[in-house]
Symmetry: C2
Subunit: 340 residues, 2 copies
DNA sequence: TTGAAAGCGGTACCAG
DNA sequence: CTGGTACCGCTTTCAA
């Protein structure tokens, strides 16, 4: 009842052809007469023929599904990435299976099992903050499953990567703070396992080094779950403010840490930027509406999703195995507002 | 290479049984001896047997996919809804196909075609602002495809619905404005085609009526695309501010309209709430960080996604056709902050 | 209780 | 260039 869709057999019967001829005509296979091809195509068109994807999948061992592995869908950065992924996937008739792990290694593994069960044709992955061991991805990669990492990547698996110029972004923000005259610049960053943490820290340290400011280890605070748990951000902030020489500026290295810190600082009655300046990585839609307007390092999340998907589909559809991999680095944009 | 998964045939061969026996044993079919059932199940377990979903789909004409139709993935409200949908769908091994139409009727229709081609088992739908004619959904519904509408619903199709108490939310916000002493309360709302627009308008008018304030049609402005296009919000705001008696408060009826208005009002150099107060429907994560902190009507987006999905799956898996439909109404929460 | 076989809708090989 | 047929993995009648 639900799908009284026309099938190849219907066409064959109607046109007095064999199934195989119809199938070939539809796929523009080389050895087929122009006449039959025309005939079949016209009939198919007229009757709204759409190949049954389940049958195709079963036969071809391809599902035209791509799996997405990330920590949180409503996170503004990842929501934008998904939007970018959707734009490409959908235009190429690929289906998206989106999973979120809420920064849990266990859920990441479980989601991955589900995705492979669904026999996805490829994977777009941004690692969870808890993920130290990437064996689960390694195994799939060795079995030949195309994987593209984005944002939170790993170099342990040879694949395409799409990331932001995190080092450059952190560098620009830190240099900006230095130039504004701040002397004691701290940073609250994400899990030390993550590539983005290392990269952003590198930019932070590079800017300090260029201005002959020694790195003070006390000024570097980690949030094991990227600020998903507000208590983490609070602990980090407390640790900073309780120092004998508390920082006069802080670079926050993720969306949730940025917003969490902003809120916590204000709750403590401190004034931004007079008591402490804040610059943060954030893809919030309206940081200019914040009080005070927030200086942000913005990532191009939509394009990241698009590019990662393009690379993945390219690899999925490539005839011969891909063995040279690209690392795409998107620019990070520093937007100075009055919080610094 | 990629999927050296064990199949039913492998089990049958190993255990010297027929395919059909194995299949039945695995599904706890009634006529099967306890002994064989045990044997098969243990072997399957031990060898990590997972049924091939593509084969199952083809045979059962069920894809275990549900399609999601909405306007914009990164919109904070919908992103949260998706997160709720994911939480249920994934726990029940359903796959999610998410489409976004950017408030375009044409894209909505096109996406719907793609979804039905994918033979989804059911649909979760929130209409686009442009959608006046719902024939495309009607046809599918008549063919027996389960559909659940959420947020932006239609009464023209008998199905489950999950919505927010929009009328109550708008009523509470408007009453709050009246009680605060504002006299000329305007509203900028979404497309007149949408259920949420009508419902929110009803609440607005109810509050005015209860306080014997006549409705001034000039104080009601529509944004045809729900504020997705900033120019719409700007035009609406201009229309209000150019009135001989411009409003001293405004109720904004969607996330994007709220944020857009906030930004535009500030750009004009007006002070909130002194020059004009703002209360708005919004699921932004941190309206308390705004300048000034924003009074919001908040919806329970995550639960909306969860409930809608539960209703849909219930219907999909129900043996006999469902003919009584629920309309679930979630509470709207007014959170007063200093913008009013 | 179990087995054999048809079929879901395509694809691709082999013959002709 | 076209037709016949086996098969992808699973479900489900029909017989035994």
């Amino acid at each position: 009842m639900k799908h009284e869709n026309i099938t190849i057999k219907d066409i064959a019967r109607a046109l007095n052809l064999s199934y195989s001829t119809v199938s070939r005509a539809l796929k523009d296979s080389y050895k087929i007469s122009e006449a039959t091809r025309q005939l079949v195509k016209e009939y198919a068109e007229a009757h709204h023929y759409r190949p049954n994807l389940m049958a195709q999948s079963l036969k071809n061992q391809k599902s035209r599904c791509i799996g997405v592995v990330l920590c949180s869908i409503p996170n503004s950065f990842f929501a934008e990435v998904i939007s970018g992924i959707e734009s490409i996937a959908y235009s190429k008739d690929y289906l998206l299976i989106i999973t979120q792990n809420l920064e849990s290694y266990e859920r990441e593994v479980k989601n991955l099992e589900n995705l492979t069960w669904r026999s996805v044709d490829g994977l777009l992955v941004s690692l969870s903050t808890e993920t130290k061991d990437i064996g689960h991805f390694q195994r799939l990669h060795e079995q030949g499953l195309p994987i593209v990492f984005f944002d939170r990547v790993t170099d342990a698996i040879p694949t395409h990567q799409v990331i932001t110029d995190n080092t450059g972004g952190a560098y620009k923000a830190t240099r900006h703070l230095i130039e504004r005259g701040y002397k004691r610049i701290a940073t609250i960053t994400s899990s030390p396992y993550l590539s983005i943490t290392r990269e952003r820290l590198a930019g932070y340290e590079q800017a300090l080094a260029e201005h002959n400011i020694p790195v003070n280890e006390n000024y570097i605070q980690y949030c094991a779950h990227g600020g998903m748990i507000i208590e983490e951000t609070e602990a980090a902030l407390n640790a900073l403010l309780q120092l004998p020489e508390p920082p006069d500026a802080v670079l926050t290295a993720s969306d949730r840490i940025t917003v969490g810190s902003y809120s916590l600082i204000q709750k403590r009655g401190l004034t931004i930027p007079n008591d402490i300046a804040v610059a943060g990585f954030s893809n919030f839609q309206s940081p200019e509406l914040f009080n005070p307007p927030l200086t942000t390092v913005r990532q191009n999340a939509f394009d990241m999703g698009k590019l990662a998907t393009e690379l993945l589909l390219q690899q999925i559809e490539s005839k011969r195995p891909v063995d040279t991999f690209k690392k795409l680095v998107l620019p990070a944009e520093l937007i100075v507002r009055s919080s610094t």
